[in-house]
């Protein structure tokens, strides 16, 4: 058996064992930690499947932000976990049946693709030089399917509004609270002062390099959000109240500029989200830059959760 094949098989086995264990774990925190490990491993699998952009996003979201989100939720559930009733056997059987059916259906669909699977990849690569971009994923995200990307960013904002509306009415516009250290730890302070500059540099780099190499606005924005969350978790800064105007403006500036450029496409190039010849790359850079900021703020606020203290406390 050749070495690469051994590598792939070992990976598959480790991942499957991991997935099974997440399902059968008894405690919430244990399941969350195994899920974080799963995300980290999955990032490597995406690299093996020749999808580095997806790998970057998986490492960032699956390994980092989801971990923070779920650990915070697990911490809040800890008080009631001891007295919570476990799901009944019939519920679990139904859930298992649905999952198994979905997995089998997916496996069947993927397995029954013809050997030369129909793909638009050559056409995408052929048109890429006109856009001035070097990364085909960036081409798909911002040129060929720009409308999808715009709608995704709108969905992100809607999710944020949804999370905020989980709080009671009187707390609207209040301050969220991320799980924070109850007392200062000098080690953590050192990390919170050393890591964010590196992280910000990495985030800007990831956004900038996304035009030519794997990367992009989403990955860069996630790193920036993670650095913000790190500073908040260590108690160096507080999350501002969600009614702060600059925060809300930053969150919408990305999608707003995207929409403006989209409508300008009517005037300049005869279609929504069409770019005038020769100006594609600068416009895309502007869109991606503002999107990076918006994604950073939105993801940070999503992980922080609904407001828990009223605005004027």
């Amino acid at each position: 058996m050749s070495l690469p094949l051994a590598l792939e098989i070992s990976f598959a086995v480790v991942l499957l064992a991991n997935a099974v264990w997440i399902v059968i774990a008894r405690e919430v925190v244990a399941a969350v930690i195994i899920f974080v490990a799963y995300g980290l491993l999955l990032a490597i699998v995406w690299v093996r499947l020749a999808a580095p952009d997806v790998a970057l996003t998986e490492a960032a979201i699956g390994g980092g932000v989801t971990g923070v989100l779920l650990l915070g939720a697990a911490a809040r559930l800890r008080a009631t976990e001891a007295t919570a009733k476990p799901a009944s056997v019939s519920t679990r059987l139904v859930a298992a049946a649905i999952c198994v059916t979905t997995s089998c259906a997916l496996a069947y669909v993927v397995g029954s693709l013809p050997d030369a699977a129909p793909t638009l990849a050559p056409a995408a690569m052929a048109s890429l030089p006109e856009t001035g971009l070097g990364n085909p994923v960036a081409g798909v995200l911002f040129v060929y399917r720009a409308l999808d990307t715009l709608l995704e960013k709108a969905v992100l904002l809607l999710a944020l509004v949804g999370v905020w509306s989980l709080a009671p009415d009187r707390l609207w516009g209040g301050t969220p609270e991320l799980c924070a250290f109850p007392r200062r730890s000098s080690t953590l302070l050192l990390l919170a002062q050393l890591l964010p500059p590196v992280g910000i540099l990495a985030g800007v780099y990831m956004f900038w390099v996304g035009a030519k190499l794997p990367g992009g606005a989403f990955q860069g924005g996630t790193i920036l959000a993670a650095m913000w969350l790190l500073v908040v978790m260590t108690g160096l800064e507080d999350i501002p109240p969600t009614s702060r105007r600059w925060m809300r403006l930053l969150a919408i500036v990305g999608p707003a500029i995207f929409v403006v450029i989209g409508f300008a496409g009517f005037a300049l190039a005869n279609a929504f989200l069409a770019y005038p010849a020769g100006y594609a790359k600068p416009l895309i850079i502007v869109i991606e830059g503002t999107l990076t900021l918006s994604i950073a703020i939105t993801l940070g606020l999503l992980a922080a959760g609904p407001p828990v203290r009223a605005q004027h406390q």
Partner: protein, 95 residues
């Protein structure tokens, strides 16, 4: 050289799988989180080796991401761990 590095990659993967056992069996949550940290570091090493084997520098960027975020999850875990009720505050608190 390529086959040697591939072999090293498989080796590191086996080490990661071993760390996985600790994630799955670790009696305390802390053990699981520590093993996840090992997974992160092992993943970084694996990706760097794969970058050399397949000659794709973009893997190094993924390794950078992994390095940043593996620690992040551990910090979130320690931040959300329950505290004992009767601990004393450190001198020089918030302000």
């Amino acid at each position: 050289m390529i086959s040697f590095l591939s072999g090293a990659a498989v080796f590191v993967l086996l080490a990661i799988a071993g760390g996985m056992l600790r994630v799955l069996y670790g009696p305390a949550e802390v053990d699981r989180m520590m093993a996840s940290q090992l997974l992160g570091t092992g993943g970084v090493a694996l990706l760097l080796l794969l970058a050399a084997v397949t000659d794709s520098p973009s893997n190094v960027d993924v390794a950078l991401m992994l390095a940043l975020f593996a620690a992040f999850a551990s910090i979130a875990f320690v931040a959300s761990a329950p505290r004992k009720e009767n601990e004393q505050a450190e001198p020089g608190g918030r302000e």
